[in-house]
């Protein structure tokens, strides 16, 4: 498979007559863009706001982040999700870099939603403070979940993807400024000198804990809860085959933007042919029943062995219950003789004294750790709020609370906040961006 991603580097975003891109300036026709958002009757209100790095802006509740893209020659950017099924990962896709579409609730948040600060101390947690963000701020008539802590956020998330495709389409006829090429041939047909390098697989464990449809990550539109691990080409992940769900405490989330740019995949590509032979991706999952966890681990180890992997990287999207899948998978691989590295975050509690993962095993002897989900974070007020600040306290965000006998509410009258890292939007950057680690005191 050969994927060419043609990049357009967005330096500024403005509203204007025609949705277009020229010389680093992305212009959005707001009315037209909102019409695309409102193609779904369930969207009752929608607005688009721009948030830039350095702005004194706080964005909450953020539900999803998507990189605007266009599939050259037609076809859905997210096959099986925003359009008909087609194979992703082969051919040309255009991407608007340094920017993202952020899906923001106009009022209502939930367990899975997060917060972004565009400047100040809070900005260092999340990648999205470094991007030009097209914030879709909208509300829906999905009253069945308005006051539910767990929200599917279906209308909003799909509106975000439509908007990202609409904006991405403005570069359809242009020449990209840069082309990234991702090519991995069939495993058995690679040059001998590549085949002689250590064979490495990347095992991804996307979030799939919910039995009910609508919350989990999707692979080509298919609920990851309803699959057994399978072999995928890394290009498929980079090219829209995977979309994020709406379930996990937010600092552990892999947004759709993360999948589209998956740093660990890109990093393995850089090593491919030099230090390793990157075999590809084993797409696993994170289901709740013990038998499902064991079955997944069994499949992963078998696929890795059958592919001839001598080493693996395992990454999980989540913490708590999924730690059992993460450790089980590492143990199964080590037992099969595959040298394995784990990539995750930890939950050591506000005092740092809790066991870092729910399950531990001495065989998991090589783990890269990206942060503590329960770290307390206190941040001053921001001049502007996009969305609704009260959502952090009111709506059961995993890192927010309405009242605490010592700490009070997460949202204070002056607009300052106190929260757990749990509610930082992709705050642990566990897809591999993280420059945080964990140390013992």
């Amino acid at each position: 498979m050969k994927l060419e991603i043609g990049n357009f580097y967005v330096k500024d975003i403005v509203f204007g007559e025609k949705t277009s891109y020229a010389n680093g300036i992305l212009t959005i026709n707001k009315e037209e863009a909102i019409a695309v958002v409102k193609e779904d009757d369930h969207i009752t209100e929608a607005d688009i706001l721009i948030a830039k790095p350095g702005d004194k802006t706080r964005i909450v509740p953020v539900k999803e982040a998507i990189e605007p893209r266009h599939r050259v020659g037609g076809g859905a950017v997210f096959p099986g999700v925003t359009g008909e099924l087609s194979a992703a990962g082969n051919g040309k896709t255009f991407a608007l870099k340094n920017c993202s579409v952020l899906v923001v609730g106009k009022h209502w948040g939930g367990f899975q939603d997060g917060l972004i600060d565009m400047s100040g101390e809070g900005a260092k947690y999340t990648l999205f403070s470094q991007l030009q963000n097209i914030c879709l701020v909208a509300d829906t008539d999905e009253d069945f979940e308005k006051r539910e802590q767990q929200k599917k956020n279906h209308a909003l998330r799909w509106a975000g993807m439509r908007l990202a495709e609409y904006i991405g389409s403005c570069v359809a006829e242009l020449q990209p400024e840069e082309v990234e090429t991702y090519e991995l041939g069939p495993i058995t047909e690679r040059p001998q000198e590549v085949q002689a390098l250590p064979n490495v697989v990347l095992v991804l464990q996307p979030q799939s804990q919910m039995e009910e449809a609508g919350y989990n990550d999707l692979v080509y539109g298919w609920d990851c809860n309803h699959m057994v691990p399978t072999y995928m080409h890394p290009n498929e992940v980079l090219d829209g085959a995977m979309i994020s769900g709406s379930f996990m405490p937010c600092s552990s989330k892999w947004s759709t933007y993360d999948f589209q740019n998956y740093p660990m995949i890109k990093r393995l590509y850089r090593e491919h042919g030099k230090t390793v032979n990157f075999l590809g991706v084993i797409m696993s999952n994170l289901n709740v029943a013990l038998e499902q966890k064991e079955r997944a681990a069994l499949f992963v180890a078998q696929i890795a062995k059958s592919l001839g992997a001598e080493a693996a990287v395992v990454a999980e999207e989540g913490y708590g219950n999924p730690d059992a899948d993460f450790i089980a998978c590492i143990v199964a691989l080590e037992d099969a003789g595959v040298k394995t590295i784990g990539l995750t975050n930890e939950c050591t509690g506000r005092d740092g004294a809790s066991q870092p993962l729910v399950t531990l095993d001495e065989k998991a002897n090589a783990i890269v750790s990206c942060g503590n989900v329960s770290q307390l974070i206190e941040l001053p007020p921001m001049e502007t709020v996009i969305g609704e600040l009260e959502a952090l306290a009111r709506d059961g965000l995993s890192g927010g609370w309405s009242d605490d006998e010592i700490l009070g509410s997460s949202v204070r009258k002056d607009g300052s906040i106190i929260m757990e890292n749990n509610a930082m939007f992709c705050g642990d950057r566990v897809a591999g961006w993280s420059t945080k680690t964990m140390v013992e005191y």
Partner: protein
């Protein structure tokens, strides 16, 4: 103004005498005794040592509660900002004494407590999670260096300086893990690749999440015939007589109790309850047998499926209890079980 510090020493370093005076009762003296002078010097302009506490190692070892109570009494009403104990080097009883008193002082007065011990001192394993214990020398030859390490860190705390991770400061890790931004800015992807290549090549690498060796006890072989067996019940579910006579803690327990069930068909609500702070006690308080299943075992006993039920049940609280304390309590309980001829134990948790 200088902050105030108090130092704990054993009878030897407190210049009372050697082993023959290890029963020396706790005392407090104004001013500086023995190593307190060096500590005072090292604290410099930041703090002064106002008092020295001296207690015999045997006294602390054999009459610990009395010793701790007396020392806490000495400290009542005294102004102090920080508490030091030792250095204890490799002296086991001294290390343990430093740990016990430091833990009690921290809990009662909420001040930082600092000690120093050699890595072979058993006090390290017992107390490293409770306090800052610096990695000290094997003998008093290291006195100056060890006191300096304690004092330097004490000064950092007292002046509000940023405290670095355990490894960098030089104390034994307390099992407390926090996130930090790497100054190098190296992203997780690069760290993964570095570890991956080293692991592939069989080179040494450092995990970012060290996993302690697990101490798994193999499950005992099944007993084929229970009809002649004497069965005991033990629990970490915190079932105790309502007055909790042994004052077992509701979390992070260090005490256990055994309570007589002679003549009882079941544990009655109102007579027994749970003191466990880690779950909703309503169901267990309404029927303690849901945790200590005496009712079901009596039925088995009557049917002859089991030989007999040991007269006492054994109990403590599991929540927050360290593995070290749990193992110690279990070993003590096992002694008792063996002495009374128990053949098998049913262990319930919550």
């Amino acid at each position: 103004m200088k902050k105030k510090a108090i130092l704990y020493l054993n009878q030897f370093f407190g210049q009372i005498g050697g082993e023959e005076l290890a029963d020396h009762a706790p005392e407090i003296r104004e001013g500086l005794v023995g190593p307190a002078m060096e500590l005072n010097k090292q604290l410099g302009e930041v703090a002064e040592v106002t008092h020295t506490i001296i207690c015999g190692d045997n006294f602390m070892g054999s009459r610990q509660e009395e010793a701790v109570e007396a020392i806490l009494g000495f400290l009542e009403g005294k102004e102090f900002d920080i508490f030091f104990a030792g250095p204890a080097f490799r002296a086991g009883r001294y290390g343990s004494a430093c740990g016990h008193i430091s833990k009690a002082v921290k809990e009662k007065f909420g001040v930082p407590v600092i000690s120093s011990m050699n890595d072979e001192n058993p006090g390290v394993e017992m107390f490293k999670k409770e306090m800052y214990i610096f990695k000290g020398g094997a003998s008093a030859a290291a006195m100056r260096k060890d006191v300096k390490a304690m004092a330097d860190f004490g000064k950092k705390i007292l002046t509000g300086e940023t405290l670095l991770p355990a490894e960098e400061e030089g104390y034994y890790g307390r099992g407390v893990r926090h996130q930090v931004w790497l100054e190098s800015g190296v992203p997780a992807t690069d760290r993964v690749i570095d570890m991956l290549l080293k692991k592939i090549k069989g080179e040494a690498f450092q995990t970012e999440l060290p996993i302690p060796p697990s101490d798994l006890v193999p499950i005992a072989p099944a007993i084929k015939d229970l009809s002649k067996m004497k069965i005991a019940i033990a629990t970490t579910g915190g079932i105790v007589p309502v007055e909790n006579p042994d004052r077992i803690q509701s979390a992070s327990a260090t005490r256990w109790g055994k309570y007589d069930m002679t003549g009882m068909d079941r544990l009655e609500a109102g007579v027994f309850k749970t003191i466990h702070a880690g779950f909703d006690p309503a169901a267990a308080d309404a029927d303690p047998n849901v945790i200590v299943p005496l009712d079901a075992l009596r039925a088995y006993e009557e049917e002859g499926r089991i030989g007999s039920i040991h007269k006492d049940f054994y109990t403590t609280v599991g929540t927050g209890t360290t593995q070290g304390e749990a193992a110690r309590m279990a070993k003590e309980i096992v002694e008792d079980l063996k002495a009374t001829g128990v053949d098998a134990v049913i262990m319930t948790s919550t």
